[in-house]
C-alpha cells in the first residue's frame, strides 16, 4: 500500500472518529418484560417527559464516565409542526447536531439548542407560572445549588428575612429560558454537581404530585440553572 493511500485512510478514520456520535436512546414506555428487553435502555418510570431519561442517563453513567459533550435531544428528527422547537431552518435535529459548535459547548458548559426567545423568554413569560418558591425549594433544597444551606433552610432566592419565607414560597418566580429542553452540556458542567443532586432531581420527578407533562415542564425551565446558568 502506498504511503499516500495509507495516509488518506488514516485521515478518513480520524475524521470518522471525530464526526461520530455515541447514542443512548431511552425508551420510557417499554411494553416488553424486563427480561426480554436485552440492551434496551429504559427509565425507572415514565414521568417528567424527557427529564426522566436525561437524569437517568446522568445517574447511570456518572461513575463510569460521561463523554466530553452530551447532547440531550427529543426523539423526533424534524417536521414543521412536530419539531417546531428545533431552531435550524428545516427544524431538523440532524442539521442541528452537524452544526453544533463543540468548542463553544466546552467553553460555555451549557448550551440551549434553541436560540429563539419565543416561547419562554418573551415579555409574556415574565413570571413563570410553573415554578414557585415551594417547587424551587423542593427541587434545589439539600443540593449543592448556590444559596442553599446544607439543611436546605436558606430556600428561595430573594428572601431577606425568615418571616418573608412563607410568603415567598408561594410567589411565582422569574425564570426564563428558550423553551423545549434540548441542549448540550460539557462533561465538566455535569460533574460540577455531585451525583446526589441528580438523584434528588430525579426523585422529585418521581415523587411530585404534578403529572407527567407538568413535572416535565418544570424541569424544562430548570435545566439551565441545574447546569450553572443564571435564572434569567
Amino acid at each position: 500500500m502506498s504511503q499516500r493511500k495509507l495516509a488518506t485512510i488514516l485521515v478518513l478514520a480520524d475524521y470518522h472518529t471525530f464526526c461520530s456520535w455515541q447514542h443512548a436512546i431511552y425508551i420510557v414506555n417499554p411494553s416488553r418484560a424486563p427480561e426480554e428487553r436485552g440492551d434496551m435502555l429504559t427509565t425507572p418510570v415514565n414521568k417528567g417527559h424527557e427529564a426522566m431519561a436525561y437524569l437517568t442517563y446522568i445517574v447511570d453513567n456518572y461513575n463510569s464516565g460521561i463523554p466530553s459533550i452530551v447532547s440531550f435531544l427529543h426523539a423526533h428528527r424534524s417536521g414543521f409542526f412536530e419539531a417546531w422547537h428545533v431552531d435550524t431552518p428545516l427544524h431538523d435535529n440532524v442539521i442541528a447536531m452537524r452544526n453544533l459548535r463543540l468548542d463553544y459547548v466546552k467553553q460555555n458548559g451549557y448550551v440551549n439548542l434553541r436560540c429563539n426567545w419565543n416561547p419562554g423568554c418573551k415579555k409574556t413569560s415574565r413570571v413563570n407560572g410553573h415554578i414557585n418558591g415551594e417547587v424551587w425549594h423542593e427541587i434545589f433544597g439539600n443540593t449543592s445549588t448556590p444559596g442553599f444551606e446544607q439543611d436546605g433552610s436558606a430556600a428561595v432566592p430573594g428572601i431577606s428575612s425568615p418571616e418573608d419565607g412563607e410568603k415567598m414560597l408561594y410567589m411565582k418566580m422569574r425564570i426564563w429560558t428558550p423553551c423545549c429542553a434540548q441542549f448540550a452540556v460539557s462533561k465538566e458542567q455535569i460533574y460540577a454537581r455531585p451525583l446526589e443532586d441528580y438523584l434528588k432531581f430525579r426523585q422529585w420527578v418521581v415523587d411530585t404530585e404534578k403529572d407527567d407533562a407538568a413535572s416535565g415542564r418544570v424541569m424544562e425551565y430548570l435545566w439551565h440553572i441545574i447546569f450553572g446558568k443564571e435564572a434569567v
Binding site: 464526526c19 456520535w21 447514542h23 435531544l73 431552518p89 427544524h91 459548535r101
Partner: protein, 86 residues
C-alpha cells in the same frame, strides 16, 4: 329602526377590528415561534440554507460525544443511527 342600525354598525366594526387585531397578534406569535419563512426558504433545493450534508468544520474536533434521547417505544428513532452514526 334607523337608530338601531346606527348603533349596530359601529359595534360590528369594533368587533371585527378587535377580532382582527387578536388574530394578527396570534399570527405574529406563531410566525415568531415557527419561523415559516426560513422553513420555506430552506425547503427550496437551490437555496443557500438547503444543504447541510456534512458536519460543519467546527463540529469536528477531539471530543467524544453522545446523544441522549427520550423516546416512546412507538416512535421512529432510526434517524439517529442512520444520520448521526457512531
Amino acid at each position: 329602526m334607523k337608530c338601531g342600525v346606527r348603533i349596530i354598525k359601529p359595534v360590528i366594526w369594533l368587533v371585527l377590528l378587535v377580532t382582527t387585531a387578536v388574530l394578527l397578534l396570534v399570527l405574529e406569535d406563531k410566525c415568531e415561534t415557527y419561523d415559516p419563512l426560513a422553513y420555506i426558504e430552506a425547503s427550496i433545493p437551490w437555496s443557500k440554507s438547503a444543504h447541510y450534508s456534512e458536519p460543519a468544520p467546527y463540529n469536528v474536533g477531539q471530543h467524544d460525544k453522545i446523544i441522549v434521547v427520550a423516546a416512546l417505544e412507538e416512535q421512529d428513532v432510526s434517524w439517529i443511527p442512520d444520520d448521526l452514526p457512531e
